[in-house]
């Protein structure tokens, strides 16, 4: 017993440091797993508040660019709306909407990016929407140009988003002109270029083909733009294709969070 006390006395600093290092290392491991709750994340009131204050000041700096993006998005939506109303006029009333079974599948929540990062291998964003706005974990986050990521930790009024620029992100994606699908990942080299893996060999890949989300998971709806094919490596083992993102991930502001009402139903089925 005395020797034990002597041992602790002698190595007290070393043991204390070992304890602290162990705590921080386990927090690091915890940060890499998707389904565990996060203690150390920017999605809490204290950190979110400080980032919110910073954002209130810095958001004035690129107001022109952001306005231009919103105008472009409005333009696109208005054009699509006029196309739709034209269809409604010409096809007459033969399209039937089952009003009993019909249910809205997706709901969009607007928001703003408070903190953005894109240079590390594992990147996260902080947004100013949380539980009280209806945001939960594992929801899709997009903006007017394309996909951004998936929420992975929420607090009352803030949430943390796992960016697509994160080595742990795996998102289902497919070609716009065919139904061959693969998995989207990132090799942490360039923040404008992501990789599409596991595309079948018989799929014809042309440079400039558009890639959209596949809708095979309960998180992303189908058809959200991702990017265009930059080049395809000639028949490697996993058949990787480089994709240039539509989104400039170093400059994101206004975002939409997508809530899927059928998620629980789909999960129960699977």
């Amino acid at each position: 017993m005395q020797q034990l006390i002597y041992f602790i006395q002698k190595y007290k600093y070393f043991l204390y440091v070992l304890l602290l290092l162990l705590i921080s290392f386990s927090l690091t491991i915890n940060n890499h797993s998707f389904h565990k709750s996060k203690f150390i994340s920017s999605a809490n009131g204290f950190v979110g508040n400080i980032y919110n204050k910073q954002n209130n000041i810095s958001s004035y700096l690129d107001l022109n660019v952001k306005n231009q993006e919103l105008i472009e998005e409005n333009l696109r939506l208005r054009n699509e709306l006029s196309k739709l109303s034209f269809n409604l006029d010409s096809i007459s009333l033969s399209t039937s909407v089952d009003s009993i079974e019909y249910k809205q599948k997706f709901n969009y929540i607007n928001g703003k990016v408070l903190k953005n990062e894109y240079t590390k291998p594992y990147n996260f964003l902080t947004i100013n929407r949380g539980n009280k706005h209806g945001v939960a974990t594992e929801m899709a986050v997009i903006n007017s140009k394309g996909i951004i990521g998936i929420t992975d930790a929420t607090s009352n009024s803030y949430a943390r988003v796992r960016s697509i620029l994160n080595r742990n992100s795996k998102i289902n994606a497919r070609f716009k002109n065919s139904f061959y699908f693969g998995t989207l990942s990132w090799d942490a080299k360039d923040y404008n270029i992501v990789q599409l893996n596991d595309i079948p060999r018989q799929a014809s890949v042309n440079i400039g083909d558009t890639i959209i989300t596949g809708g095979k998971s309960a998180i992303f709806p189908e058809g959200i733009p991702i990017g265009v094919v930059l080049n395809s490596s000639d028949k490697t083992v996993d058949n990787t294709i480089n994709i240039k993102l539509f989104n400039d991930m170093s400059n994101v502001g206004a975002i939409y969070i997508i809530k899927n009402f059928h998620k629980q139903e789909i999960k129960n089925l699977e």
């Binding site: 600093y13 602290l20 705590i23 921080s24 927090l27 690091t28 150390i40 994340s41 990062e117």
Partner: protein, 168 residues
């Protein structure tokens, strides 16, 4: 004598906010980033009891992690250099425990301060980028980032030291 804890607390908060609100957004050439908050480890008072240093180092790292969503990597590397500080202190400055009371980092020769800060910064950055990378692939990324960010951090530290300590 009573102003010391207050000074350390304001340094803690000041360095934390400076790091997360200003220096984390620099991203010079896309990836070079100074981690100036480790200055806190250099200037923390040299005492026989090392528990306060280790605890504050861990908390400082943890707060940086909280802001930059990195789990516990800053806490890990900062605690490690806080633990190793005393050994390099003994080796480079040739001091023993009796000298702690009168030791001032700024009164030493530049060469010794340079060795001391360079070694601790390199260790900190190397551990930090290894944990950021979180795999042994891409070893080149760790080395280039360690060296370039260390240079940036040290230049900022010596410039800041030069500017703020002239008056005394």
């Amino acid at each position: 004598m009573n102003r010391k804890p207050f000074y350390l607390l304001s340094l803690f908060i000041g360095l934390l906010l400076l790091q997360v609100l200003v220096f984390n957004n620099i991203q010079f050439l896309g990836y070079i980033n100074p981690y100036i908050y480790i200055v806190f480890i250099f200037v923390f008072p040299y005492k026989t009891n090392r528990f306060p240093l280790l605890t504050t180092a861990f908390l400082l790292g943890l707060f940086i992690d909280l802001f930059s969503d990195s789990g516990g990597i800053h806490a890990f590397s900062t605690t490690l250099i806080a633990y190793l500080r005393i050994y390099f202190f003994r080796g480079i400055f040739q001091k023993t425990e009796v000298d702690y009371e009168f030791f001032k980092l700024n009164r030493e020769t530049f060469g010794k301060i340079f060795n001391f800060t360079v070694i601790l910064t390199l260790i900190h950055h190397f551990i930090l980028f290894s944990l950021i990378n979180f795999s042994l692939a891409n070893f080149f990324y760790i080395i280039t980032n360690t060296i370039s960010s260390s240079i940036f951090t040290l230049v900022l530290y010596f410039l800041g030291n030069f500017i703020f300590s002239r008056k005394q």
